[in-house]
Amino acid sequence: MFDVLVIGGGLAGVTAALEARACGARVALAQRSWGATAMSTGALDIAFAPGSPSEPTVARSIEGHIYAIAASRARHPYAVVGSGSALLAIADGMKLLSSALEPSGLTPRPWEAIQPNQPYVSSLGALVPAASALASHGPVTGGSVACVQLAGDTHFDAKHVAKAAVHDGRTSWGRALDIEPVMLRFDGSLPPIGLAQRLDDLGAAHELASELKAVVAGVSAVIMPPVLGLARHRETLATVQDAVGVPVIEALAHLPSVPGVRLQRALGQALRAAGVVLVGEVVGAETSGERVVAVQGKGGERLPAKAFVLASGRFISGGVVFDFGCREALFGLPTVTELGALEKDAPQNIVRADPRESHPLMTAGVQVNASMQPIVEGRIAFANLFAAGMVVGGFASRFALCADGVALATGVIAARGALA
């Protein structure tokens, strides 16, 4: 019998499981497969509310962004739990995450709620704001920076990335940046995951490092495509870093994302190290009145627990499904959007014609109270069920850059609720 059974192994589920373990509970975690966390860019997005021409937001503190989001979006989890509680829970979640990722060498950069978001280079060719990022990624602060292109690499085009970063630095951040593309002969024609695996071989890492050293003399930092090792990322990064002698920064990744895979693997290792029992996929739930009694494993096994945390994600991860009617996948809970309850609608009615608009459907998930308990028709669905992460409805990360902050905050709050 477990004290807490967490459904979902992404950032929210792992945070909940580690928080519950830290409180001494017996914890199990069910995971079907890798979901959205394995597609992470490497940034940790906590809060960034878009500004208006009259009110630039790059200088606003992260705390200020959280308050702004909570004030303007009534169904956002930051508004539901309250900005102050959200901020405290995020800080606690970051501490858990930092120590969990320490063995993998991914420990996130320190962040301060009173500091603004920092500019990070993205492999798409953009300078995007983020509160923090995994260790190998760093903000672009200034100086003379080299942006490295591997031969034949079609996933990371240094010319475009450098040009776009300089453009965004000038137009969005008010900074004059000096970023120049640098071409290497080192073969980068493999897809990103394959390239990262190849660079797990330290011989290949040395080869890359020595070529790099010869061409980047005099720069103050080097931006690399996010492929510096997968399983042995820590060693590969150190090899290149030592040879070059200046900070080596990996760009934030688009898909397929090496940093996402590193993060997902490191979270798995952290779960095992913390003594969380991994139970595979769950396919059904057994409820009795106002309580969830057990969930059912894929092989038919019954998994009882005192409390459950639902952290199964949204559409990408399969926690919420939509097929002319939208529901949470495991318990069949109804869903809400940031506009309110979601009726049986055709996609045309809840997905706008232009992808850049705000689409109600893309904010679909379960409705929760401040303790992260799913609410159905104004009442708590099950006394011992809590939700965390993207399965919670009422927000989309796209307009608030908050996915990781919400995962950490709701993961911590859900775990505490489950143990209360």
Partner: protein, 549 residues
């Protein structure tokens, strides 16, 4: 600007006509308000078929289509491919056991037209034989009948016609809308006023003849002259559903809930279900499949091929037919015939409208329109479009040879040959220019970087999203997520665009794919949409949302 003939519309009729006239030595200009094949042609079933359906009401159309289909197969041999059809005869058919015999006799008649289009005669199949071809069929059948038709890439057909027109001296302007027809003191056409997309100024074009090939927009264009009553269409909206994979061996004809025939058809690496045909009086520039249309098509096919329920539906193709008007008849019975209307009697000499017709007979339609125009201009030259190859149509290169000469695989070679025919090696030579020239940009198709560069340089590409119609960029299940960025970078390099313009182009591509996928954004495709949005629009829009004061 001054020309003899101004052709309005870049669909199969318009581009076919521009080519025909240019090859006869006539000075011709074509204006298209968007890109080629953006209307009825691009949203068609992509078949140059005789249409056995029309045998019942419209024998002339069947014959015409079959004859012209034969010509098109010759001049664009690389662009066409055989599509075998299976018509299962269900026991619910009203004539009992005789139903199969009736089908057999019916297609005996159709077979008479087959030699014109290099068709294989039909075959009558037992239930067992039919199930061997399509094991997924479920239901009670007397048996089935096969027939064969030809598929074609309709977008490329228009592009190749336009390119050949330009090669023979024509001027072709896409993203150029005709906003007015100018007339002389006796009402005769003197030209048109046109406006380029994104520009406020209106340009005058002088022309002795103006031909309206506006497809479903023909009525609106004719309305620019005082005699709009002469062109009357009964536009029919047609929807196709696009599945990620080939789901059947043959194209299978199914019956919808209202008894209409609906087909599921393999098209390259996809399957399409089509079509609906409903009167349409909405905004032609804002088309979208409705929930009811999606459900209607799915249901029609799923009751005989139930496994399709579990297959991934990735997008839709929506268009409006330019059907000629008929009063008091069902949509399906309306003629697919065509008319060339001379507006002289209505007071606008020199203005012509080519209305109605089918993709399969676009060439003969264009030829007859060109004949009428040439009579007016006093040009004696004859049509040669049925004999002269379209660009790349003169030979089919050997795929295996191409895989030896260039670092590409067999599938890529096959698709390149399909799209570019004899010009495939010219496309591939461009790959030598850059280190990533032979890299696959969009793995769903696959599309190579050198093919993008070739199309951008030589195929009148104005916007990044035009590449979808040139080489199927972004049509796969990921709707441009993997290929879009790299394609935008290549486009920016070729055109010397800055970061802002490059992002606008990428957004334009994603938006066009988004619009096509939106009616079916459920299940896995919704997760895909969430991914696309997270990856691109989330990151790319931030600069505009976050201006520095």
């Amino acid at each position: 600007m001054k020309t003899d003939v101004l052709v309005i519309g870049g669909g199969s009729n318009g581009t076919g006509l521009a080519r025909d006239l240019a090859k006869r030595g006539v000075k011709v200009m074509l204006c298209e308000m968007g890109d080629f094949a953006r209307g009825a042609t691009g949203a068609s079933s992509a078949m140059i078929h005789g249409g056995p359906r029309y045998l019942l009401n419209d024998v002339e159309t069947t014959k015409h289509s079959c004859v012209d289909s034969g010509y098109i197969q010759k001049i664009a041999q690389h662009l066409v491919f055989r599509i075998p059809f299976l018509v299962p005869v269900p026991k619910s058919f009203p004539y009992g056991r005789a139903s199969l015999l009736l089908h057999d006799v019916y297609f005996d008649v159709y077979d008479r037209y087959s030699p014109y289009k290099n068709g294989i005669p039909h075959a009558k199949l037992s239930v067992e034989e039919m199930l061997r071809i399509e094991p997924g069929l479920v239901g009670d059948f007397w048996g089935g009948v096969t027939l064969d038709e030809w598929g074609i890439d309709p977008g490329r057909l228009c592009v190749l016609n336009a390119i050949d027109a330009v090669a023979h001296g024509a001027t072709v302007a896409t993203y150029t809308e005709v906003v007015g027809i100018t007339r002389g003191s006796n009402g005769e056409v003197t030209g048109a006023r046109v406006r380029r997309r994104g520009e406020a100024t209106v340009q005058e074009i002088e022309a002795k003849v103006v031909v309206n090939c506006g497809g479903p927009w023909a009525e609106k264009l004719a309305g620019l002259t005082p005699d709009s009553a002469k062109v009357k269409l009964r536009p029919g909206k047609g929807v196709h559903l696009v599945y990620e994979k080939r789901l059947t061996n043959f194209a299978v004809i199914c019956n919808a809930v209202d008894g209409r025939e609906v087909f599921v058809m393999p098209y390259l690496n996809e399957s399409w279900i089509g079509t609906t045909d409903d009167d349409f009086y909405g905004d032609l520039n804002d088309l979208s499949a409705t929930h009811d249309e999606v459900a209607y098509l799915r249901e029609a096919v799923e009751h005989v091929l139930p496994d399709i329920k579990h297959q991934r539906l990735i997008s839709t193709r929506v268009g409006v037919r330019n059907t000629m008007h008929g009063w008091g008849v069902h949509e399906d019975v309306l003629s697919r015939g065509y008319r060339i209307i001379d507006h002289t009697a209505a007071g606008t000499p020199g203005f012509y409208s080519l209305v109605g017709g089918k993709l399969a007979s676009y060439r003969i339609q264009a030829e007859e329109a060109a004949d009428a125009v040439c009579v007016r201009l006093g040009v004696a030259a004859r049509c040669t479009t049925h004999e002269d190859y379209l660009p790349g149509g003169d030979a089919i290169p050997d795929e295996v040879e191409l895989t030896r000469a260039y670092p590409i695989d067999r599938l890529t070679a096959r698709r390149l040959v399909h799209r570019h025919g004899a010009l495939a090696s010219r496309v591939l030579d461009i790959g030598r220019e850059t280190a990533t020239g032979y890299a696959v940009v969009d793995p769903a198709e696959p599309v190579l970087e050198c093919e993008l560069r070739y199309c951008i340089r030589h195929e009148m590409v104005k916007r990044l999203s035009d590449l979808t119609m040139r080489c199927r960029l972004g049509v796969g299940a990921d709707q441009g997520m993997r290929g879009g960025l790299r394609a935008a970078q290549v486009f920016a390099e070729e055109r010397g665009l800055d970061t802002t313009s490059m992002r606008e182009e990428l957004m334009g591509l994603l938006r066009s794919r988004w619009r096509a996928a939106r009616p079916v954004m459920t299940g896995q495709q919704l997760a895909q949409a969430e991914l696309v949005m997270t990856q691109y629009t989330g990151l790319w829009q931030l600069p505009t949302l976050n201006p520095v004061a």
